[in-house]
């Protein structure tokens, strides 16, 4: 056993209102520079939808992630192919797959010559400065479920029956949910493995995946290898960039900007301890066993044996303590409510999603709308977002894990309704709980952490001990009264 700590995340999709506050917080801090205008390290997609960049989940198009036919192998490239493809990367998305960033020519409102029409502020490209027709944007299909160009092309619709599709897209019953995305800070990151220069790396102490700007040489392998399309190419500096999980904030005990600003309070951040010896074995597990294997490699931070091994591996006590209080551990491992997105890409993402409850199918009889049934969980199988769709997104195509989570969520709601409102009877609620593999105490805990959480419950961030680490390599006194450590020159494009 080789215990490592990973800063991990849970997004509770049931609570996301699709406001994009997270994206804006991120953009304002990190990607408002030239060359990064088109990047959204955090973006929020409408599902069903094609997302950003368009169709990123279609790995026959982008060849992201890993294949595991006996041997674990990147889909985008092999070592030999890297040599052959270094001049031209055959599965690289281009700007058109994202969108051409634009602003408006406001000066024209002031400078236009006198004429018979009102002058207009026409859109101009932020790259060339030329006038352009806006053709797409980072959330171009926002709320557009049911649209034939976007939603109908969602790769997660594979395996849905005609009926299910109709039910998803019927305009009068339009249904969708939001899917906020950042880098998953995976345990088996495809971007890291693909980088010919070794510029990408995973931080040993907290597992944040970073890209060394001084080592990146623009070979672009990471962009095609990441199946989530969460590494981006800065066309101006000729370097790739990605979500850094706001590590300067995390190191000082603050939640990343997107987490901190989330108005829906859907985001949780905490430490997971895992067994690094098992990464390869888990990544090679077949699709059906993947979710269990992934969960299994996450270790119990209260187990004395795990604690002993963690100490042996040099993990500080403060981190072990944070792991014991981690909200992520509760959602992922104890309650089994949160699931990794597209685990079948085999990068072992460490961002987990609580699947969304969706409205129930209703039928109209003599103009009263019915959505009651004798079966307790009928609305899970009849929910307007077919369970197969969620399973394709969060369950490696397998419905059982998603159904388990949804049942527990439903039972918790029913139980809490019996407790606080009292308009449903407690006996049914308890029966639902037991059918959903949940005790009343567990339901209360789920309710508390989901609905009544405080900042300190949502974000349990251990001290980074960075100050001690730096002393072993550099003398902090040398830098007293100067600009500090690290990258001190402006990131200017080379000749």
């Amino acid at each position: 056993m080789e215990v490592r700590a990973q800063t991990s995340m849970v997004f509770h999709l049931d609570k996301c209102i699709g406001c994009h506050t997270c994206s804006i917080a991120c953009k304002n801090i990190w990607t408002d520079r030239r060359g990064t205008e088109y990047m959204w390290w955090n973006n929020v997609e409408t599902k069903p939808g094609t997302g950003y960049p368009s169709l990123w989940e279609d790995q026959d198009k982008y060849h992201g992630g890993w294949d595991a036919n006996g041997k674990l192998q990147l889909r985008s490239t092999s070592k030999a192919q890297v040599v052959a493809n270094i001049f031209h990367n055959p599965s690289m998305p281009t700007l058109d797959d994202y969108y051409e960033p634009w602003e408006y020519d406001y000066q024209n409102l002031f400078n236009a010559p006198e004429g018979s029409d009102q002058p207009a502020a026409l859109p101009i490209s932020m790259i060339t400065g030329e006038q352009i027709d806006i053709e797409s944007g980072p959330n171009w299909d926002d709320d557009l479920s049911g649209s034939p160009i976007y939603a109908e092309n969602d790769p997660n619709l594979a395996g849905l029956t005609e009926d299910q599709r109709r039910q998803l897209f019927a305009v009068q019953r339009l249904v969708f949910f939001y899917f906020p995305r950042i880098c998953n800070h995976c345990l088996n990151p495809a971007c890291v493995a693909s980088c010919p220069s070794g510029a990408l790396y995973k931080r040993g102490e907290d597992g944040i995946v970073l890209l060394d700007q001084k080592r990146c040489r623009a070979w672009r392998s990471c962009v095609s290898a990441c199946p989530y399309k969460k590494t981006y190419f800065n066309w101006n500096t000729g370097k790739s960039e990605k979500c850094i999980l706001c590590f300067p904030r995390v190191e000082t005990g603050q939640a990343p900007a997107c987490f901190h600003s989330c108005v829906g309070r859907i985001r949780f951040l905490g430490v997971l301890l895992y067994d690094a010896d098992r990464i390869e074995e888990v990544a090679k597990t077949d699709d059906d066993g993947l979710i269990d294997a992934h969960r299994d490699m996450i270790l119990d931070p209260n187990d004395p044996e795990v604690i002993a091994e963690a100490k042996k591996a040099g993990i500080p006590d403060s981190t072990i303590k944070a792991a014991q209080q981690s909200p992520v551990y509760q959602f992922v491992k104890v309650w089994k409510l949160a699931l990794p997105p597209h685990l079948e890409y085999r990068t072992l993402p460490m961002l987990f999603y609580v699947p969304p409850m969706s409205p129930v199918l209703s039928s109209k009889n003599d103009s009263t709308i019915q959505h009651e049934s004798d079966q307790l969980f009928h609305d899970i199988d009849q929910s307007r977002v077919p369970i197969q769709f969620l399973a394709n997104l969060l369950g490696t195509g397998n419905e059982s894990k998603v159904r388990y989570a949804l049942k527990k969520l439903k039972a918790t709601r029913w139980y809490r309704r019996a407790v606080t409102v009292g308009d449903v009877d407690m006996e049914t609620a308890r029966r639902m709980l037991s059918e959903a593999d949940c005790s009343p105490e567990e339901a209360d805990a789920i309710y508390r952490l989901s609905a009544l959480n405080t900042v300190d419950e949502r974000f349990v961030i251990p001290p980074a001990h960075r100050e001690e680490a730096v002393e072993s390599t550099e003398d902090p006194m040398d830098r007293k009264k100067s600009a500090g450590f690290g990258f001190l020159a402006a990131p200017k494009r080379g000749l």
């Binding site: 031209h88 623009a218 000729g238 680490a469 000749l495």
Partner: protein, 235 residues
């Protein structure tokens, strides 16, 4: 034509010392010194500065033939410089000489065609034009001259693979061993001298252009472990 040619031959003869003797030393000296200095002070600027992200299709048809062509041609030059005897031995049979020359010429043409496509792409695609600098243009012109003169030599001064070993290799070795002797090259046609001088111009400008990416070609990738983990302090 002949008059022009003999005029140019005379001209280049006047320039023998500056071009064939001074320039190589100045160029190599500049290259080594500035490259190291740039790596030390501006490591961030070492990048291939790919523009594939902004335009994909023409990128393939220009960058790929150019790179493969130029790598083959450069390798040929290096082999001829380092082990001239191998080339002369190979060329002893006219058939093999012929194959070598045609192969080299094909690689040269791929380079030239690729370069021309690069120029066209950088002129016509407005997004790519945004990321094209003055140093890129200077470099492209020099490389066009280099490929153009190279191909002309292959056609008008044929069997270069043989006379390279006989006259250029000893001269280059004399430069390398710091006892410069230009006697074996003074008689060469102006085209060859131009090709030679231009090559050293490119070498001299190397550290001021994107060419530095050649030095950071990632070979350790081929034998490193797939995953990279960095710790704050060495464990």
């Amino acid at each position: 034509m002949d008059i022009l040619s003999s005029y140019l031959n005379d001209l280049f003869k006047y320039l023998d010392v500056p071009l064939m003797l001074v320039l190589p030393y100045v160029a190599v000296f500049t290259m080594v010194l500035v490259t190291i200095q740039r790596y030390r002070t501006a490591k961030f600027t070492y990048s291939s500065l790919s523009s594939q992200f902004l335009e994909n299709r023409q990128h393939f048809w220009s960058v790929v033939p150019m790179h493969y062509g130029i790598i083959i041609v450069l390798l040929g030059h290096f082999v001829a410089f380092l082990t001239p005897s191998v080339i002369t031995a190979w060329n002893r049979q006219p058939g093999r000489l012929y194959v070598l020359e045609v192969f080299a010429l094909a690689a040269g043409i791929a380079t030239l065609v690729g370069l021309i496509s690069i120029v066209v792409r950088r002129l016509t695609v407005s997004k790519v034009r945004v990321v094209t600098t003055v140093s890129d243009w200077i470099l492209l012109v020099l490389l066009l001259i280099q490929a153009g003169t190279g191909i002309s030599i292959a056609i008008f001064v044929p069997w270069g693979s043989s006379w390279f070993a006989a006259s250029i290799a000893p001269y280059l070795w004399s430069l390398t061993e710091l006892r410069p002797d230009i006697a074996s090259v003074t008689g060469l046609p102006w085209l060859v001298k131009w090709h030679f001088a231009n090559a050293f111009l490119v070498i001299g400008l190397f550290p001021f252009t994107r060419l530095v990416h050649i030095l950071v070609v990632p070979n350790p990738y081929l034998w490193r472990r797939p995953q990279v983990v960095r710790w704050y302090s060495d464990k």
